[in-house]
């Protein structure tokens, strides 16, 4: 069956160019980048060239400000735990938001058990953090502020530049999880006033199992794993050379795409078509996330009176891949913490479905959804006790 893949916030298809860049390092150029011989130095060069490209992607001054990790989760863990531990002398209060990814939230929760205090800021109905709330939450012992750049479930873009400016003024370390922003719009550590920025390659046409963390010069971060002296002693382990090369290629593909934003415009255009089509064809739907200030590829809606899973499975029968809540917590019974934080009730949160497009998404994919979703909704609503009650009421 033809697959209509609309779950690109979960993961993306690798760009052919990325795979092509990686191939030599998975075949002939297999050396360990720590080897002293030329063959190893070639691998070292590949890693350091990748670091330079990645630094550019972040608009960082110095490639040494980049470390490579095993993914967004590890980048977030190093950033938050690493900065919290290294700067504990300053204080043990952390500010984050209720809508962060679990890779941020659960590190914060673990730190709470270890004597840290964490403020989880609320969001407005669009799922956006208010910089004023950040300002109000700051205490003398606040050591770290971590607010994501764009949310994975709703796509809502956060005012990180303002928040970063507040943090900078107060000399508080500012981390932003830019996993969902990377590749969609330029990431600029200077404009964001960010000290720590996480990305994950597989979210923007790069390989799985590799990520990066920007660590501003002078910002102290402890390693969370111990071993060899790799990655500026911040992240031990034999370098994943193909992965790192792939991440850098994904960065350079993205930088090119920002220069000629046609592909981005197409994604947004298709996303808007999908949105319009759903609202036209299905009654009682609400948009989750900011109507405008949202990543170009994300559409999250709640279809009232039914639950997401049934829709997903029904769509799967037609080859459509979408998600409900974030992929990494599926199997969990709780509705999305992000939607609940936005004020949705349990039922409506349970009825959410997320479509996330990519540069490979076609009109055909959109048409497939607009064909499959309305009957799926009808089927599920017809067996929902709430739907009937509502209509007959």
């Amino acid at each position: 069956m033809k697959i209509h893949y609309l779950d690109n916030n979960a993961t993306t298809r690798m760009d052919d160019e990325v795979l092509k860049a990686m191939m030599p390092y998975m075949t002939d150029n297999y050396a360990n980048a720590s080897g002293v011989y030329s063959f190893g130095q070639d691998a070292r060069k590949a890693v350091e060239d990748a670091r330079a490209v990645t630094a550019k992607f972040f608009n960082a001054d110095d490639p040494r400000e980049i470390i490579f990790t095993s993914g967004g989760t590890e980048s977030d863990n190093i950033a938050i735990r690493g900065a919290a531990l290294a700067n504990a002398a300053k204080g043990k209060h952390i500010i984050t938001s209720a809508i962060e990814h679990h890779a941020v939230l659960n590190v914060c929760k673990a730190l709470e058990k270890e004597g840290y205090e964490v403020t989880y800021l609320p969001v407005d109905k669009y799922g956006v953090v208010n910089p004023d709330d950040v300002k109000k939450a700051i205490r003398p012992d606040t050591v770290l502020i971590s607010i994501m750049a764009a949310n994975n479930e709703t796509g809502s873009i956060q005012p990180v530049a303002e928040i970063g400016a507040i943090a900078r003024e107060q000399k508080i370390i500012f981390h932003t999880d830019a996993v969902q922003a990377a590749g969609k719009y330029p990431i600029d550590v200077k404009a964001m006033n960010a000290d720590l920025v996480s990305i994950s390659a597989h979210k923007f046409y790069g390989p799985k199992g590799v990520g990066a963390l920007y660590i501003r010069k002078g910002v102290k971060v402890s390693a969370i794993m111990q071993g060899g002296h790799h990655e500026n002693r911040k992240r031990p382990g034999t370098e994943n050379v193909p992965g790192i090369v792939g991440l850098a290629k994904a960065c350079s593909v993205a930088m090119d795409s920002f220069k000629n934003p046609k592909a981005h415009e197409k994604v947004k255009m298709l996303r808007d078509k999908l949105q319009a089509g759903i609202f036209e064809k299905i009654p009682e739907v609400i948009l989750n996330g900011h109507p405008e200030n949202r990543t170009e590829n994300t559409l999250n809606v709640s279809v009232k009176f039914i639950e997401g899973e049934g829709m997903l499975i029904q769509m799967d029968f037609e080859g459509i891949c979408a998600s409900s809540g974030s992929a990494c917590t599926s199997g969990s019974l709780d509705p999305s913490h992000v939607l609940l934080a936005m004020g949705l009730d349990h039922g409506t949160a349970h009825g959410s479905i997320r479509f996330s497009l990519s540069k490979y998404t076609t009109q055909e994919d959109i048409d497939a959804v607009l064909k499959a979703l309305p009957p799926a909704v009808e089927k599920l609503r017809n067996m929902s006790p709430f739907w009937k009650n509502r209509v007959t009421a």
């Binding site: 049934g310 349990h346 039922g347 067996m383 009937k388």
Partner: protein, 145 residues
């Protein structure tokens, strides 16, 4: 987490969805763990369940088990239907992922409650309210809409 082929097959070809107007018994149950809700309707004639339908606001496991269960008890005596367990329904569907086992409890409870409701009606008592597990920690906001 993966559903069995049987669950998928069942979900694809659902039976007994909807309500029975003038049902002889209605079992309204809710799952405290996830906030989901199932309503089971039965028609009873001469101690035999002649028709049975369901309305479910819940996950695929809840929907598939309610369809399976309603199918199962059609034609059964009320007494026999009371013996149906969630375990047997799950087995008929080739199992459920562990984290979805609790969903199948809804179907068993729904049937039991529908029969209880039927028995009460026979005795002229008022219909049963919706039932929820004890562990319940949040309301069914869905209902308020």
């Amino acid at each position: 987490m993966k559903y069995s082929e049987k669950v998928m097959e069942r979900f694809k070809n659902l039976k007994n969805m909807g309500r029975i107007e003038n049902a002889d018994g209605i079992g309204k149950v809710g799952n405290a763990k996830c906030g989901d809700v199932m309503w089971i309707y039965i028609k009873v004639d001469n101690g035999i369940i002649t028709d049975c339908k369901f309305e479910t606001f819940g996950c695929v496991a809840a929907i598939a088990t309610s369809s399976q269960a309603t199918d199962l008890i059609k034609g059964m005596t009320v007494e026999k239907a009371l013996e149906v367990t969630n375990k047997s329904i799950v087995e008929m569907l080739d199992g459920l992922p562990p984290e979805k086992l609790h969903c199948s409890v809804l179907a068993e409870d729904g049937i039991k409650r529908a029969i209880e409701d039927y028995n009460r009606k026979k005795q002229g008592l008022p219909p049963l309210p919706e039932k929820e597990d004890d562990g319940h920690d949040h309301g069914h906001e869905g209902e308020e809409e």
